[in-house]
């Protein structure tokens, strides 16, 4: 038998030491389908990362300039497609700010209730995804079960499960159905129970704790400079929530807390989302109570304003009177006549501050609709959460940002 070739120089036996380039995504299961990361690896350590978004760019802002103000609503559904109603509310409020109008009280409460339901659905998905990507499939399925109940309630109110396009400039498409109070009140305790069950599976799990605690840390200063918002910002210890700091709709009347993290790691982001769901339940219950107190038949007891220049006339009038037909025709064909101006309207959406910068030059079409999608900013901050850490830590870190392609790439 021939001996192994022993003539190698010592240097030849060393492994190559230059960093390796690894492409992760866009069709990687943990990249949620739409992000590509170019990683420079030293062993398993990430030396540098280039995050490349844009694979879901649809030209939201360009499309919005080509239709009427109302025709933007279906596009907003597809921004953060896990919580579409919050985007509807954000856009409606921004246009109403430009018009200088306010929705009646019942309409405001209705927006708060459905919006917070959407927020719970959003956080359930986000937290479920973190768990699933770490191999814990059961909490994910449990959370989705609860999300299904929320979708059913939203379907009862809006007629659609996911892409509702429900709110309108000046109100909502329909008033709440009779089942609003009973259905939501029966869902909330069950949702809270599911959240507690899901947490009980994770928060005493050594693997889950080891893989989330101290991973993907975002410091306070960095979070501020990067413009991260929502749970990502609050987990870093900054107490900023648009619902508290600049209350819109009826949030000022509700008693709720803003959970704030300490370390800014993946675990904190998970816990902030968990606690926010509980606070959302509190808001919904209080809003349902407030809605009950509205006297029937009073001016407050309407979901939409009645200005015929803004809100479509009721269908009976459209089909039976000439005034109704003309108003309908003008609003559909020409759009709402929004006076010239420029505003920045912002709300707290599932992932943070959702801003719309609207520019009108008068007439029925927007001149510019700029969306400040919160994930785009959080994703930018992910660069420093990932760099210098292990390759496997990318998965929970990226999951905890809850990047939603529709909102990030627009």
């Amino acid at each position: 038998m021939e001996p192994v070739d022993l003539d190698f120089e010592e240097a030849d036996l060393e492994l190559p030491s230059e960093p390796m380039t690894l492409l992760m995504g866009p069709s990687h299961p943990a990249m949620h389908g739409t992000i590509r990361m170019v990683l420079k690896l030293d062993g398993e350590t990430v030396q540098d990362v280039d995050i490349q978004p844009g694979y879901l760019h649809r030209g939201f802002e360009k499309m919005s300039e080509r239709g009427t103000w109302s025709q933007v609503f279906p596009y907003t559904d597809r921004l953060n497609y896990v919580s579409p109603l919050l985007n509807n509310v954000g856009y409606a409020l921004a246009v109403e700010k430009l018009l200088g109008i306010e929705v009646p009280r019942k309409g405001q409460l209705f927006r708060v209730i459905l919006g917070e339901m959407s927020r719970i659905a959003d956080h359930l998905t986000g937290n479920g995804a973190i768990a699933m990507e770490l191999g814990a499939f059961t909490p994910f399925l449990w959370f989705l079960k609860a999300r299904e109940w929320i979708y059913e309630a939203c379907e009862e109110q809006t007629g659609a499960r996911l892409t509702h396009s429900f709110f309108r400039i000046g109100g909502a498409a329909f008033p709440p159905t009779e089942k609003l109070q009973s259905q939501i009140r029966s869902i909330l305790p069950r949702v809270l129970e599911v959240i507690a069950e899901g947490e009980s599976l994770l928060l005493k799990n050594r693997i889950f704790l080891d893989r989330t605690q101290g991973v993907g840390i975002l410091t306070k200063e960095h979070a501020l400079g990067m413009g991260a918002s929502g749970p990502v910002l609050r987990s870093a210890g900054i107490d900023y929530d648009v619902r508290k700091d600049k209350p819109y709709l009826t949030y000022g009347e509700c008693d709720f807390d803003v959970p704030v993290g300490e370390d800014g790691d993946t675990y904190d982001r998970f816990m902030v989302r968990s606690e926010e769901m509980r606070q959302s339940c509190r808001i919904i219950e209080q809003s349902l109570d407030l809605m009950k107190k509205i006297a029937p038949g009073s001016p407050e007891d309407a979901v939409s304003i009645t200005d015929p220049r803004i809100v479509l006339p009721p269908k009976e009038k459209v089909y039976s009177t000439i005034e109704g037909t003309i108003a309908h025709f003008k609003l559909i064909m020409e759009g709402i006549n929004v006076p010239p101006g420029e505003v920045y309207g912002y709300t707290e959406a599932g992932n943070g501050e959702l801003g719309f910068l609207l520019v009108s030059r008068g007439g029925g079409n927007p001149w510019r609709v700029r969306v400040r999608g919160p994930c785009f900013f959080s994703l930018q901050a992910a660069h420093d959460m990932i760099r210098g850490k292990m390759l496997a830590d990318i998965i929970p870190t990226f999951g905890s940002i809850n990047m939603i392609g529709g909102e990030c790439d627009r």
Binding site: R66, G67, K97, M226, G227, I238, Y344, L357, N365
Partner: protein
């Protein structure tokens, strides 16, 4: 409350603040392009403004190709929104750039988060940011020609990375250059052909 920032800015920069307004409660200051970075730094560093939270940076194209010249003055408005978490006030700084070779200083030294937003403005509007460390397209791809959010960019133009093919296919279109969907509200003159 938040008028404070505008007053501070006017006291500090005088005529370099071209205009201020507070339409619907949004405080806006229009800044001379040459002082863009200085004003941004002041808003960030001044203890009474304290706007350390970076909210947004984007641009607006003010040119209507049906009536205006494409290289008009004041064609692009670049704005940045900053917020103070402690003082709960925000300000929108704006500057106006000419349509011919628009250039402005980058504000990354002030807010590091401006990085991607400036890349997006470069991608969508073709505004260059001086001192930007990494000026690449971000939402479209490198081979993309033109800047889609400019008003003179036709909305129904297609720029496929894979060439359009001839022949018949067992799939539904669009495959050919003129099969794209016209989004036809305000059609620009050069789209009609």
């Amino acid at each position: 409350m938040s008028k404070l920032i505008l007053e501070r800015l006017k006291a500090q920069f005088g005529d370099d603040i071209l205009a201020v307004s507070s339409f619907r409660g949004d405080d806006v200051a229009v800044v001379k392009p040459s002082r863009w970075l200085d004003v941004a730094r002041f808003v960030h560093d001044d203890p009474r403004c304290d706007c350390t939270y970076f909210v947004d940076l984007s641009a607006i194209d003010n040119c209507d190709p049906r009536t205006d010249e494409l290289d008009m003055d004041d064609r692009f408005e670049v704005y940045v929104i900053a917020y103070s978490v402690a003082k709960k006030h925000r300000v929108r700084l704006k500057t106006r750039l000419s349509g011919d070779e628009p250039r402005i200083a980058s504000v990354i030294p002030v807010w590091s988060g401006a990085n991607w937003m400036e890349r997006e403005v470069f991608d969508m509007f073709g505004v260059h940011f001086e001192g930007h460390p990494d000026e690449r397209r971000i939402l479209t791809y490198d081979e993309f020609k033109g800047h889609p959010l400019r008003k003179d960019y036709p909305a129904n133009r297609t720029q496929p990375l894979v060439e359009y093919r001839d022949g018949t296919f067992n799939k539904l279109g669009p495959f050919l250059q003129d099969e794209g969907m016209p989004l036809n509200r305000s059609v620009l003159p050069d789209e009609r052909q």
